[in-house]
């Protein structure tokens, strides 16, 4: 773990860097004493500063709006505490008791708890369908962007990282969203076609446009591309 002492005006606050990606940095801090994550988006210096400011602002306002919209669709996402447009940061609850789905699958598959994993994968499909029914696409569906959280003796799916998400009612975009998950899932979790089938099953049971999306998905698979060919 790296300790990064961040100075803010006259005060120094200890925050821990959790990780750093291409788009930004993740810090661990507290909010009213509660464990809190601060997701800060980088400034892109290769862009014109005014343009960069507008684009980044738009990105985080979209991300925070979608985090809120998910709840009204019945999807569990981290509670947002504060959105800082000056530093391009989103402060949200840190679900310490939750486990990244990727790790949950790896651990439980090796411990012969495949049925439990299968049930959770069904929930994953169900959750993505709720998202798509609400005309939202995640944009980066992988098992690293999902958490498994225990609630009332059951595991539930928490969706995180909506940095690439957008609103779309297009079947094409929803199919591509699933295709990205399919490829990521099969490469991250070997020999897991059965688990993927559970995801699809959960999705189809709840999706409003399941037939159209499945048909499109077949087309997308044949194309072998990640991006939509519309326009």
């Amino acid at each position: 773990q790296h300790y990064f002492i961040q100075s803010n005006l006259r005060t120094c606050r200890m925050t821990t860097i959790l990780s750093q990606g291409a788009e930004g940095r993740l810090f661990e801090t507290t909010f009213l004493g509660r464990p809190c994550l601060r997701k800060e988006r980088f400034k892109k210096s290769y862009r014109h500063p005014e343009l960069d400011e507008k684009l980044t602002n738009k990105r985080i306002s979209q991300e925070s709006r979608i985090l809120s919209k998910c709840r009204s669709l019945g999807i569990r996402t981290p509670t947002v505490y504060y959105v800082d447009y000056k530093t391009n940061s989103i402060y949200m609850e840190y679900l310490k008791e939750a486990q990244v789905l990727k790790d949950f699958i790896e651990q439980n598959v090796s411990q012969n708890k495949r049925t439990e994993v299968g049930d959770l994968c069904y929930e994953v499909g169900y959750t993505i369908a709720l998202l798509h029914n609400g005309d939202l696409v995640h944009g980066d569906l992988t098992t690293s962007n999902m958490l498994a959280m225990q609630r009332n003796n059951k595991h539930e799916v928490v969706l995180i990282d909506f940095g690439l998400s957008s609103s779309s009612s297009l079947i094409e975009d929803k199919a591509v969203d699933l295709y990205v998950l399919e490829k990521a899932f099969l490469s991250t979790h070997p020999e897991s076609q059965d688990l993927l089938a559970k995801i699809v099953s959960g999705y189809c049971n709840v999706s409003r446009d399941q037939m159209a999306v499945m048909k499109k998905l077949e087309e997308v698979r044949m194309r072998g591309r990640k991006r939509s060919m519309v326009g």
Binding site: N8, R10, T11, R13, T29, T30, F31, L32, G33, R34, S61, S64, R65, L67, S68, R71, S72, L73, G74, I75, R76, T77, T79, V80, Y81, Y82, V83, D84, K86, Y91, E93
Partner: protein, 173 residues
């Protein structure tokens, strides 16, 4: 009196008190209008928890320091930040006091302990009500809150009312 330690505003003393069975609303309203009350007065039935208050106050204080307040005073800004929309008069009428308010929450923003005791004394003198000792729970109106914040049954099944309300006000544009 309960202290809210806002990590992003370490040089501010934020405290709240809960008063129940308020007997002199009309007088309090007059005092507020004439500028004799330095604290924000919020109707308790619209406050879910201290986190709810803290998220609104945190945002209001940031707005104050970057000069982006939508209202003229930190106390009205706190009301605005509690509101699910940016309609100032709506937020004051929904979250503020009216003649029939029974229970209220006072929020005092101070820079030092002396100012705090002054404000506290001012409130205790002005408000004819029972001061609550245990401020861990608020008497809120579920129905009213879900109605004002637009929270559906589906949303309540996902997570707590507190988290739903907090996310709504934190992500409000």
């Amino acid at each position: 009196m309960t202290r809210l330690k806002l990590e992003q505003h370490p040089d501010r003393l934020v405290n709240f008190m809960i008063f129940r069975n308020v007997k002199n609303c009309v007088d309090i309203l007059k005092m507020v209008k004439s500028g004799h009350i330095g604290s924000a007065l919020i109707s308790e039935n619209m406050v879910v928890s201290s986190l709810h208050l803290g998220v609104a106050i945190n945002r209001a204080l940031h707005n104050l320091s970057n000069g982006s307040m939508k209202t003229k005073h930190i106390n009205t800004e706190i009301m605005m930040c509690l509101s699910p929309n940016n309609n100032i008069s709506h937020s004051l009428s929904r979250f503020g006091l009216n003649e029939n308010t029974n229970n209220l929450v006072s929020v005092s923003i101070c820079d030092n302990e002396d100012q705090l005791s002054e404000m506290t004394q001012q409130l205790k003198t002005a408000i004819n009500a029972d001061l609550v000792n245990d401020c861990r729970g608020f008497f809120y109106d579920d129905f009213e809150i879900c109605d004002v914040y637009g929270i559906s049954k589906e949303e309540l099944a996902v997570d707590t009312l507190e988290n739903s309300v907090v996310t709504k006000i934190a992500t409000k544009v």
